[in-house]
Amino acid sequence: MSRDTEKRSGIVEVSGKTIVPERDKDRPLVLEAMHLGIDFGGLTAVDEFNIGVGATEIMGLIGPNGAGKTTVFNLLTKVYQPTRGTILLNGKDTQGMTPASVNEAGIARTFQNIRLFDKLTVEENVKIGLHNHIGYGMFTGMFRLPKYFKEEKKAHEKALELLDIFDMAGEADVRADSLPYGAQRRLEIVRALATGPKILLLDEPAAGMNPSETEELMKNIEKIRDRFGIAVMLIEHDMKLVMGICETIAVLNFGKIIAKGTPSEIQNDPGVIEAYLGTKKEG
């Protein structure tokens, strides 16, 4: 069946082809995955995953449930070690990196099911994101040397500045678990941004949001891209959001990319339509 899909797909040449927005043409790719794959026991969850993300591109990763989208995020962030393939971040191989070091190198993410530090305040959550940018050591912290106060003040200001992007500075001292759902999703994005990424991976950022919240989220994602000059890759089922802000879209089905292209290309791709809606039986 999958071979059939490839034959009928309009944009089959997905493997080598990299489409980036016009403005990123002259800049190196921020993220490249080549022949990426992972097996769980005998099951191949993701295979031959090839993408290239432009420096300030917003890319969507879509596909039916269980297609392996979150697995791709877990591979990119090294939660899973890939069985095959290479991931280049700014041209540098991430082989052997841990989730923590790959984050320091420039990949930050949010989670499908929100994973905030519930017992910490909103500001503290953001400061966890800032952890590697706060420049004092254990000793300075314990003995509260002048540098401690200087650096903590800087971190405080930075945290508020980031929260302000999402109009959340007023809730800085609230415990994270007392925030409403939509705000928790926003806080996850702020926390990820605080780590200073070059590419931000958003796993279903609009899940559970109402249309007006989604609208606002779309504006904010574009705002983040413009203000920080970073790339965004997002998994989302809300097609209005995906088609509205993504410049390129990759479609995943059964762990493989079945199509890649601009939103309009994807919308008219027979392989994609088949993956989502199934085939019409002949006769």
Partner: protein
């Protein structure tokens, strides 16, 4: 009665300092480090050796003892527990008991079973008199040390980046590591701090009860564990309150019913807490989502 109460608070302060080590390690690494009590014993011996063999002044001996235990804590975590990070909690628990026996027997080999008499490092300080009650210097120092440690630790976990990282790791290791936090380093530091506190507890304990033997740490270690459970394991103020209450219960019980060994009351507390409020005094009730 006032004397009993103050002595109880003093003994309880030692339990509290030990319980802090238990509770911090449990909160962050989600494991019960039953070797923690024996780190106290090593702390006592380290201070003893520095004073008796090297002739160091007490203050230097205490610093030396803290340094030794901090290193010991890091080494124990690195060699015994880190390889088991993904193992079942039972495997880690049994390993911890193994480390405990290892430390006791190593101490037995090095220092033999003959008790060492720990010098009173506060001998120069006069006891305090309140009415007709007389409070020894070690009692006062213990209580003060406890208060200072409590304040310092609260500030550390609440206000510094390492403290925040610890709280983040204790909540969600996976999310913390994806935010760029080095989880292994954070766990190491937790063991370092817990073990450093154990050294302080060791010195205070040996000053109050000067017979130093390889099993010195075992009983206080277990009682501190009871204190940590009593207060709500994983909670820093809980360890403090649990420790002090347990110390007071033990001393008062010893005074009121001298015929019955006071340890019975201590462990009765554990049983009652587990029956009535298994989360401990300040423990958070964890409701399972279905």
């Amino acid at each position: 009665m006032l004397t009993y109460l103050i002595n109880g608070i003093s003994l309880g302060s030692v339990y509290a300092i030990i319980a802090l080590g238990y509770t911090m390690v449990y909160g962050i690494a989600k494991m019960l480090n039953f070797a923690h009590g024996d780190v106290i014993m090593v702390g006592g011996y380290a201070a003893y050796c520095a004073m008796a063999y090297l002739g160091w002044p007490p203050a230097a001996a205490v610093v030396f003892s803290i340094a030794v235990c901090t290193m010991l804590g890091i080494v124990i975590e690195r060699l015994a527990y880190k390889p088991l990070r993904e193992a079942t909690s039972l495997a880690v628990l049994i390993t911890a008991i193994g480390v405990s026996y290892f430390l006791q027997n190593a101490a037995l080999l090095i220092w033999s079973s003959n008790p060492k008499i720990f010098p009173n490092i506060f001998a120069s300080m006069p006891p305090l008199k309140i009415g007709d009650a007389q409070i020894s210097a070690v009692t006062i120092v213990t209580i003060c040390a406890n208060i200072i440690i409590m304040i310092a630790l609260t500030l550390f976990t609440g206000k510094t980046k390492m403290g925040k990282a610890m709280r983040a790791v204790s909540e969600d290791k996976g999310a913390a590591t994806l935010m760029g936090i080095n989880v292994n380093f954070t766990i190491s530091m937790t063991f370092a701090i817990g073990s450093g506190l154990a050294a302080i507890a060791g010195v205070l304990l040996c000053t109050a009860y000067p017979n130093l033997v390889p099993t010195t740490g075992a009983m206080p270690g277990i009682k501190a564990f009871v204190a940590a459970v009593f207060g709500g394991i994983g909670s820093i103020p809980g360890a403090m309150i649990g420790g002090i209450l347990l110390g007071v219960i033990e001393i008062v019980a010893r005074a009121l019913v001298p015929a019955v060994p006071s340890d019975i009351f201590v462990f009765a507390v554990l049983i009652i807490v587990l029956l009535i409020k298994p989360d401990g005094l300040l423990g958070r009730k964890i409701s399972e989502k279905v």
